[in-house]
Point group: C2
Chain length 355, copies 2
Amino acid sequence: MTNSHLNPGSTVGILGGGQLGRMLSLAAARLGFNTHIYSPEPHCPAKSVSALATTAKYSDKKAIAEFARSVDIVTFEFENIPIDTAVTAAVETPLYPPIEALFAAQDRLTEKEFISDTAGVPVAPYHPVNNAFDAVRALKILGEKIVLKTRRLGYDGKGQSIVTNEDDAKSAYKFLGEVPCIAEQFIPFRREVSVIAARGLNGEVAAYPLIENEHRDHILHKSICPALGDGGDAQTHAIRILENLDYVGVIAVEFFELDGGKLIVNEIAPRVHNSGHWSMDAGCIDQFELHIRAITGWPLGGTNPPFKVEMINLIGDDVKQVPDLAKSPYTKIHLYGKSEIRPGRKMGHFNRLIF
Amino acid sequence: MTNSHLNPGSTVGILGGGQLGRMLSLAAARLGFNTHIYSPEPHCPAKSVSALATTAKYSDKKAIAEFARSVDIVTFEFENIPIDTAVTAAVETPLYPPIEALFAAQDRLTEKEFISDTAGVPVAPYHPVNNAFDAVRALKILGEKIVLKTRRLGYDGKGQSIVTNEDDAKSAYKFLGEVPCIAEQFIPFRREVSVIAARGLNGEVAAYPLIENEHRDHILHKSICPALGDGGDAQTHAIRILENLDYVGVIAVEFFELDGGKLIVNEIAPRVHNSGHWSMDAGCIDQFELHIRAITGWPLGGTNPPFKVEMINLIGDDVKQVPDLAKSPYTKIHLYGKSEIRPGRKMGHFNRLIF
């Protein structure tokens, strides 16, 4: 370990109480850490599995500072945490991943500029859009088909619209709320892949093999790791992004793989990621433990799965398959402790081990 | 599932707050259950990983009844829970494993009689000892070397003494506190093995392969599964014990394997067991989840590990090896959240995956 590693018995503070916070908390427990969950929700997936919890708004600076002072390190489970909140916490206690990564991930324009200009990793051609006229111009500059996206707060296909003509361009900008947007060239791709990688406090880096992802209705449905093919430069790209951000923790980098095999980054997530859930049952260190190891200064351990794993999300009513799934050997079920089933809600996932 | 299975979102009450309760709680969380930990200790390994906790004595019947009423099912992590306590809980809410199993496991004489006479499974020749005279007589009946053990509350080699002559017999009985004892013939064995098995609410049974165990200073040091050799009747014996107890949950059966290969039962534990910790990283359902599945009426799932795993306990200062262990790929570390290192204290364990 580094000289500055945290010992078991220390407390990891987690901003956010969803399933990612829950699985981070379970992983931290395996390493002997306590966790303290901060979330505005009194009952949420992460709070069920931790003895320490704070229920307060993210904008409550007094509560955030008090929370940060009560723990040994702070991390977060979602990238849309207000920057102010993160800064308030970081003043009191080390916070990882670094706030620079939040800046890059919260704004699609900053993100694209960072990835292409700073890290030198390919992205789709893009153009900033601040009014309807920009939207029309972007279409002219970028080609026949573009995707107009809000710069902030989009996820699971929300906050974006495909545009093929001038009228569409204007109405799409209006539909998206006339907020700052980015237009990206629509790139036909042969598949979506991702890389989950991590960087430790001492600069050690590790990356899992290439992951192939399948989305349904803009929500991740299935991930397989290792994916077929060597993934070209995917891992190198991910590590270049980590190093250019002076990053600490786990990052997810989503790529489009084009017909010739070229990879372009779609987006990055400065956190553990749904496309890494297969790692929980893959025989190597899983992404949640990898993140905890990285931010506490432990060695990262092994990220090379000795067998293949397929992860499938349980969205909404899918969770009703659980009684049947539970009969299959080598099918590992992970439920998030959400009481109410809603359409589109991620209720859990299962991993199928393939030997 | 059976018609009477518990749905995710239900609460599993656990009597006992040690590392077994902790790992049961983590496994229950994976299946979407809440847990409620009952223990006299305000801070203990299991309470760190659960939002719900009661701190009260096991003899506090009012607190036990209230606890039981607040949960959907009650289980326990140690077999020396007072019978009265278990009965008080079971009056309010279903409690598994059944109280009959606690009776059998709390008294070495009842245990031996049940195993040999009721279940028809071999044990070492034994003789009850209620006074010094009985101890001398046991030596005459059972042979040149016997082990004198207290009938109740022995563990990890505590509460037992080897006896080879009449004077020893008398002084051993005195040394053990002049309490009811049992004398067992000393059986030379070639190795210690165990089987972890489970029986569900609907009578479904499952057993892991044979486990080989190595003790140091009477404390489990290492377990390997699958052990070399087919284990003869070990699994059949374990299942016969489960069925004769009308058992629900996970049970551990420890055997001595004699030179010719014959197995005799050393003892049973009506709970998850240290010799089953390898299962946490073995690619199949682990013993903690198996127990939760069994008592909540879920299918038991797969108990056949696709690769070999070696488990090594971290006792006392062994835990200082963790920084080095964390560097090895395919070494999975499990720490119990105990703040104080003490000699002989189980601080954690690690599993080495062998492909």
